[in-house]
Symmetry: C2
Subunit: 491 residues, 2 copies
């Protein structure tokens, strides 16, 4: 049965698009670069959002909501920030439409021009720190640990479903602290929350590291990141956590009086992950037959498909199927019993394979007579006969096993794709022939970093945390280096 999915070997990018579109995750829209997140894709995002939100709350954060619009002048307040974000933005210049006096539909009313243009937020540091100025006076107001779930807009020239879209959904944490140490600790706490989520929910292993100065968030002192590896050997930045120092506090004049009543600027962090994670999830695990979703994130974990001939068998299986679905639900699983009569079992098998449902249970009259059901794993396609009496416990155990094995498989792949290069030739060859992360010496200059990118399209992904010191020479310039860093071609 062909589901008309391009194979990874034929065209990896097209394979990805096929999965997203045919798997029902997203669709193109009439607005350039903006996508529609379809119900199945949104259900995935909801599962991810809910798990993250719980982790944020457990680490003491509260949600709030700040305006969509940012006055243009705010973007200029922090010198580095304006360079990074005031470029490709959606700009609101007018606030009214009117009927065209010449009868050509509606036009922008030239009299409704804003005195100051509004920018649709590309990120919210500026509007939030402008607000924090009125919320923070004393050390008693700190720390302020706030997160928001929001849509943001960056006018991207080349877009890809989930991975890079003009509008996307994300969360952005913005915290304020009384000391540099506390803000730095928060930065790393949230990096670890992201790594924990990526590995234990998405089953995607990540490398924690710090970005080079060239790749820092505009306005940050340091940008920490988690980097994941996709099946085509390309890296993907899956989340960032920024130590902002006092940059935004200075730009927006946010001071607090400490216990000794001395005034100082407030210390800041910001951190975010976005719907891009859905793209990472798809690319990390799926195969040529469709999506493969980790059980903890899968909107449906188990699908039960009745196999019958005629009305009598259908009715009998309807009853038994609903019973089993309820039994598994009560045992804490997300279950669907698909007794839709319009589609045949074979079509359904292929459909749930495409959708990446972790476990499929087929239920026929003979199976019930034998008191044994055929249980199929999506990830390995293995089929297991399980006695009806053990079904809840065994399927629940299987879900855990799938979650663990998906992570282990991705981890093995990732670890097999971290290669050391000690010469430029080796560096280029590894990038072209094997892909993945290349661990190589770098002289620490933006010039070499840029030259490497121009020659190979590989970027400096990160300097891993707790990176061992090692004397060597830069892979490109031959100048002295004190440590290896990770390069890769990336999304």
């Amino acid at each position: 049965m062909s589901k008309e999915i391009t194979s990874r070997a034929t065209d990896y990018a097209q394979w990805y698009n096929d999965l997203v579109l045919k798997g029902g995750l997203a669709d193109y829209s009439a607005v350039r670069g903006c996508m529609i997140i379809k119900p199945y894709g949104f259900a995935l995002w909801e599962k991810m959002r809910d798990a993250l939100d719980e982790m944020f709350k457990e680490t003491g954060h509260e949600n709030a909501y700040f305006p969509l619009f940012i006055p243009k002048s705010f973007l200029s307040r922090e010198a580095a920030h304006v360079e990074g974000f005031a470029k490709e933005c959606a700009v609101v210049t007018h606030y009214r439409l009117k009927n065209d006096p010449d009868g050509n539909g509606i036009i922008v009313d030239p009299e409704a021009k804003l005195d100051e243009e509004l920018i649709v937020r590309p990120t919210s540091e500026t509007i939030i720190w402008n607000t924090y100025k009125t919320w923070i006076q004393s050390y008693r107001d700190l720390p302020l640990l706030i997160n928001q779930w929001a849509n943001v807009v960056r006018w991207e020239m080349r877009t890809r479903l989930f991975l890079r879209t003009t509008e996307f959904l994300w969360q952005e944490g913005h915290t304020a602290h009384a000391s540099s140490e506390e803000a730095m600790a928060e930065t790393l706490t949230m990096l670890n929350v992201y790594a924990d989520f990526a590995e234990n929910y998405m089953a995607v292993p990540v490398i924690r590291g710090v970005k080079s100065p060239s790749e820092r968030f505009a306005g940050a002192i340091d940008t920490y990141c988690i980097e994941a590896l996709m099946q085509d050997g390309k890296a993907l930045q899956a989340g960032t956590s920024h130590f902002l120092g006092q940059n935004f506090a200075k730009a927006f004049d946010v001071k607090f009086s400490d216990r000794e009543n001395k005034l100082d600027y407030v210390w800041a962090t910001s951190w975010g992950v976005s719907t891009r994670l859905v793209g990472a999830l798809v690319m990390a695990h799926s195969d040529d037959d469709g999506l493969i979703l980790p059980p903890k994130i899968a909107p449906v974990q188990v699908v039960i498909i009745p196999i019958y001939k005629g009305t009598e068998q259908k009715e009998m299986l309807d009853g038994k199927g609903k019973e089993l679905a309820l039994q598994l639900k009560n045992a804490g699983m997300r279950v669907k019993f698909d007794n839709n009569d319009n589609n045949r079992p074979g079509w359904k098998f292929a459909q749930y394979e495409l959708k990446g449902v972790p476990i499929r249970i087929a239920m026929g009259v003979r199976d019930l007579e034998n008191q044994t059901l055929e249980v199929a794993r999506r990830d390995t396609k293995e089929k297991i006969a399980i006695p009806l009496e053990d079904i809840s416990a065994r399927v629940n155990g299987l879900l855990k096993e799938i979650q663990d094995q998906m992570f282990q498989k991705a981890l093995d792949f990732r670890d097999n794709h971290i290669s050391r290069a000690d010469t430029w030739e080796e560096f280029e060859r590894l990038l072209d022939e094997k892909g993945g992360f290349i661990s190589a010496h770098w002289d620490g200059t933006a010039e070499s970093e840029e030259a490497i990118k121009e020659k190979t399209k590989a970027t400096l992904r990160c300097i891993p945390l707790n990176n061992p010191a090692e004397v060597g020479v830069c892979i490109l310039s031959g100048k002295p280096s004190t440590q290896r860093v990770l390069f890769a071609r990336a999304y």
Copy 2:
């Protein structure tokens, strides 16, 4: 202890603003008409959102996400819709900023002008029905039951925190059906979901009705609504559910083939509630000392406040307080133990009164010796001594009692504020002296409706569902009428 809240009698509007600002629900922002939802206000909205989301899912709906931007031309496609929504909108005309060559910060890049302006969605019927065109071909694709949680922008001239803001958060359901009957049934199902939510979660009684043609959603065949009554006697529209007929299907050419393979336009509904509900909640229940929140929506249901002198007592109560908090949490309640040493109990009492926490438990050393705690209700301010051994069950029971009594109190108030008027003098007198809903005959014309509004500022809130037929004459025109309708001054 003064919390500096204006009393309702002095200035109802100022009382409301004081509660919202000092209760920590929201704040003004630097962007005209846009507000900031603060953590406590957002926690309230989250509780409301989660309860509604569950009800939507139970009635078969799925969430999705559509673009923030709508091409200008889309708004003109449905004739009535354009009149209602294409006026006060935020219009994106450019997609890039650049450094001012004259050195005056950043300016809009004149070369980055969009070919077609984009409107920040004021509602999403147009972009969604443009998408449904590609999703719907056959009766097998129907019904399509989709909801989205989103921000929308309507450029309001006069704004009020939560009640009317330029940007607000809401949900908008957009469903597609194979028949008029099914779409109408959906319209009423969702109206009932809203009424159920308002009454059983928010403890706000509502009247279900249909709007007059003048008050219909732009593009709808019929608009159904739930109308609530605030303490100042003004009505507030708390939710709407629209039967859209085939209007949007025709505007966007969305046809389906039925079982007989005949083509017909698809039938539609849309329905929404917004952060405005937070304003309704505040105004329906609160008093001059602060918010009063219904337990089912309250972010914190029970606060425990230790009362101690000296370190030894503090440590003892810390242990006992945490123990009790855990015990109540395990019994399913949302509990906060406030052992912050910076504030005195009296200050805390006033603070949680202001925040509307339904139940306050004071815990002193003497109370523990007596094995009895003082439990105070926020709504009635009644204090009850409860033996420690019964505390979980009794507090849980009390929360249910508070929820029920808050609804009953609001219902009594509402029912006492539905008055019949049979003469114009009586109509005006009731509006001025008593407020509330006035049940009066209306001749069914837009002219009379408009004249009544101009003379009294009262609007026709709704024609209640299952309204009894009654012969009479219009309160204003004296022309024949077949039923009474409800008028009120409104938010």
